[in-house]
C-alpha cells in the first residue's frame, strides 16, 4: 500500500520540491508541509472561483473550458496533498538509515579513518536532517544513522563526511528507507595523512 501511494504521489512531491527549490533561490525557505498547506488552500479557493466562473453566462467558450478544467485539476492536486499527508500518518517512515562501508580487509589506516568519518543525511535541498552523529563501527564499517523524521521532508541523500576518504553522496528514496535498505558505500582512502 505505501508503495502504491508513493508511486502515485512521487510526481506531485517532485513538483512541490521544485517549487520549494525555486523559492529558496529567492531566499524564501519554507517547510514542505507549509507550502503544501498554502497550495492546497489556494487551490481550494481556485476551485470555488473556477466553479463560479465556469457557470457565468457571459464567459466565452474557451474560457469556460479552462475554468471547467480547473474545477477538475485543482481538486486532484488537493486530493494528492491530503493523500500524501494521510499516507505519512498511516505509514510513517522508519527513523533510521543503515549500511556498511566496503572496507575490505581492515587495516590500522582504515580503522583510523573510520574513526573520523561520519554519515550525514540531507534533504532534497541538501540541508542537513537532524540526526545522530553517524559514526561507523571501526572494525566492521557498519553504520546506522537515527534521524528525526520531518513531516513531508524525508532524507534524500546520504553523505560521507570525512577528511580521509572520498566524500561519497548517495541518493536515497522513501522506498529504500521504508524497506530498511542496507546501503553499501565504497570506502576509498585519500592519499596523505587524514
Amino acid at each position: 500500500m505505501p508503495e502504491l501511494t508513493d508511486a502515485l504521489l512521487n510526481p506531485f512531491r517532485s513538483i512541490f520540491e521544485w517549487i520549494l527549490a525555486l523559492l529558496v533561490q529567492v531566499n524564501i525557505e519554507l517547510p514542505v508541509v507549509a507550502v503544501q498547506a498554502v497550495l492546497a488552500a489556494l487551490l481550494a479557493l481556485g476551485t470555488w472561483y473556477a466553479l463560479r466562473r465556469s457557470r457565468l453566462p457571459e464567459v466565452s467558450a474557451p474560457e469556460r473550458l479552462a475554468w471547467t478544467a480547473g474545477t477538475w485539476i485543482f481538486p486532484i492536486v488537493i486530493a494528492a496533498v491530503l493523500l500524501d499527508w494521510s499516507s505519512q500518518v498511516a505509514f510513517p517512515l522508519p527513523d533510521r538509515v543503515q549500511g556498511v562501508f566496503q572496507v575490505g580487509t581492515p587495516t590500522p589506516q582504515t580503522e583510523q579513518c573510520l574513526l573520523i568519518t561520519h554519515i550525514e543525511l540531507l534533504d532534497f535541498r541538501k540541508r542537513h536532517v537532524v540526526a545522530s552523529t553517524g559514526r561507523p563501527d571501526t572494525r566492521t564499517g557498519r553504520f546506522e544513522v537515527t534521524f528525526r523524521p520531518e513531516f513531508s521532508n524525508p532524507p534524500r541523500y546520504l553523505r560521507v563526511a570525512s577528511s580521509c576518504c572520498e566524500n561519497t553522496e548517495v541518493a536515497i528514496t522513501r522506498r529504500e528507507i521504508r524497506h530498511r535498505q542496507n546501503f553499501t558505500i565504497p570506502f576509498v582512502l585519500r592519499a596523505g595523512p587524514p
Binding site: R96, L115, K126, H128, S132, R135, P136, T138, R139, E144
Partner: protein, 338 residues
C-alpha cells in the same frame, strides 16, 4: 469513575514496564593481542539521537557498565549503542552493540590495539621544542578539519575566533573559581601538521616536548537550520600532565556554538562549559605533578582546590567525570593530610 479509569491506566502501565527493570550494558575492554584486561579506558556512548557522552572508566579488571535508562526512552528503544573506547596507550575503537531495551546486554568484549611508539620526526621534535612553553600554560591545537557544507567561510579566521572564544571561556571560568592569576593566563599554540591526535603515543610525546597542558584537535562542521548557522565542534581534548596515580584519558568534547547569520565565520554563541572544566582539570593535574615532584604542599592544595571547584560546577549528567574527580580528590586529600 474517572478515578477508577486513572487507576486502571496506572495498573496497565505498571504491567507494561516491570518495576526495577534496568537496561544495563556491561562488558570488558581487553588488549586485542594478549586478551588481558585494560584498566583506565574511557567509554563514550551514543544511543539514538542524544549527543555522545562519557559513561565511565574501566576498572582494574577492564570492566565497564552503563545504565541505558539514563537516556530518553525514545533513544533507548532503538536498541543500539555506539561505544567508543579511548586509552592513552591504545588506538581508539568505535563499536556498534545491539541490546534489548529493558534488559540490556552483558558480557560485551571490546578489543583494543596498542599504539606503536611515537612516530615524530626529528624536524617535528625540533619544531615542538622551539615552541616549548616554560610556564606550562599552553594548549596545543592541531588544525581543525573544517566542513563548511558549501558555505563560503574563511577557515583560518573561524578557527582563530573559536580558539579566542575557548580561551576567554576558560579564563573566565578559572577567575570565577578564584584560581591564582598565574594559572588563568592560558595560551594556544599550533601543532605541526604531522602531529596526529589519534596516534596517542605521538600525541603524548608532542605534548611533553611542548610542555603543554593539553592538546586539542578534531572537526568543525558548519550547519544551518531554521535557527540559523551554527558550528558543531567535535574534538579530542588530550590531557598531558599526569601523576603516578592520577591520569585523565583523552576526552571527547562535542559542542554547538551559534554563528552570525550575516557573516558565518563570526561566532556569536558561547562555548559550552566542558572546555573550561577540562582546562581546570589539566591545571590541577599539573599542580598535582609539581606537588609530587617538589614535595610541595601548596601545589597539592592548589590542585585539590581546582578539582573541588570543577566538581562543584560540573553538570549532574557527567557521571564518569564526577567519579574521576571524587577519586582524584580522595588521592590528593590523602597526600595533603597524611
Amino acid at each position: 469513575m474517572r478515578k477508577n479509569i486513572a487507576l486502571l491506566v496506572g495498573f496497565a502501565l505498571s504491567l507494561s514496564s516491570p518495576a526495577g527493570a534496568v537496561t544495563r550494558i556491561s562488558g570488558t575492554v581487553v588488549d586485542a593481542g594478549s586478551e588481558r584486561p585494560v584498566a583506565g579506558a574511557t567509554l563514550n556512548a551514543e544511543i539514538g539521537m542524544s549527543p555522545p557522552r562519557d559513561v565511565g572508566i574501566t576498572d582494574s579488571a577492564g570492566r565497564f557498565e552503563l545504565n541505558a535508562d539514563d537516556w530518553p526512552k525514545s533513544d533507548r528503544n532503538h536498541g543500539t549503542v555506539v561505544l567508543q573506547v579511548s586509552h592513552p596507550h591504545y588506538a581508539p575503537v568505535v563499536q556498534h552493540i545491539t541490546f534489548t531495551p529493558g534488559t540490556g546486554k552483558s558480557g560485551i568484549v571490546l578489543g583494543v590495539t596498542p599504539t606503536g611508539p611515537g612516530s615524530l620526526s626529528q624536524a617535528v621534535r625540533d619544531a615542538l621544542l622551539g615552541a616549548r612553553d616554560a610556564t606550562g600554560r599552553t594548549i596545543g591545537f592541531a588544525t581543525f578539519d573544517l566542513d563548511t557544507a558549501g558555505i563560503a567561510i574563511d577557515a583560518a579566521r573561524l578557527e582563530g575566533r573559536l580558539l579566542r572564544r575557548l580561551q576567554g571561556s576558560m579564563t573566565q571560568y578559572l577567575q570565577a573559581q578564584n584560581a591564582p592569576d598565574e594559572l588563568c593566563g592560558l595560551s594556544f599554540v599550533q601543532l605541526p601538521g604531522a602531529v596526529d591526535l589519534l596516534n596517542y603515543s605521538a600525541a603524548r610525546e608532542a605534548g611533553d616536548l611542548l610542555n603543554a597542558l593539553a592538546l586539542i584537535g578534531g572537526e568543525l562542521r558548519v550547519r544551518t537550520d531554521a535557527a540559523g548557522p551554527r558550528l558543531e565542534v567535535s574534538t579530542t581534548f588530550f590531557p598531558i600532565p599526569s601523576t603516578d596515580s592520577l591520569l585523565l584519558p583523552p576526552q571527547r568534547v562535542f559542542d554547538q556554538i551559534a554563528l552570525d547569520p550575516a557573516q558565518p565565520s563570526a561566532i556569536t554563541g558561547e562555548a559550552g562549559s566542558a572546555w573550561a572544566h577540562y582546562a581546570a582539570i589539566v591545571l590541577a593535574l599539573r599542580e598535582a605533578r609539581e606537588g609530587e615532584r617538589l614535595d610541595s604542599l601548596p601545589h597539592l592544595v592548589q590542585a585539590r582546590d581546582l578539582l573541588a571547584a570543577v566538581q562543584r560546577t560540573l553538570p549532574a549528567g557527567e557521571g564518569s567525570l564526577h567519579r574521576w574527580l571524587a577519586h582524584g580528590l580522595r588521592l590528593l586529600d590523602a597526600r595533603i593530610r597524611p
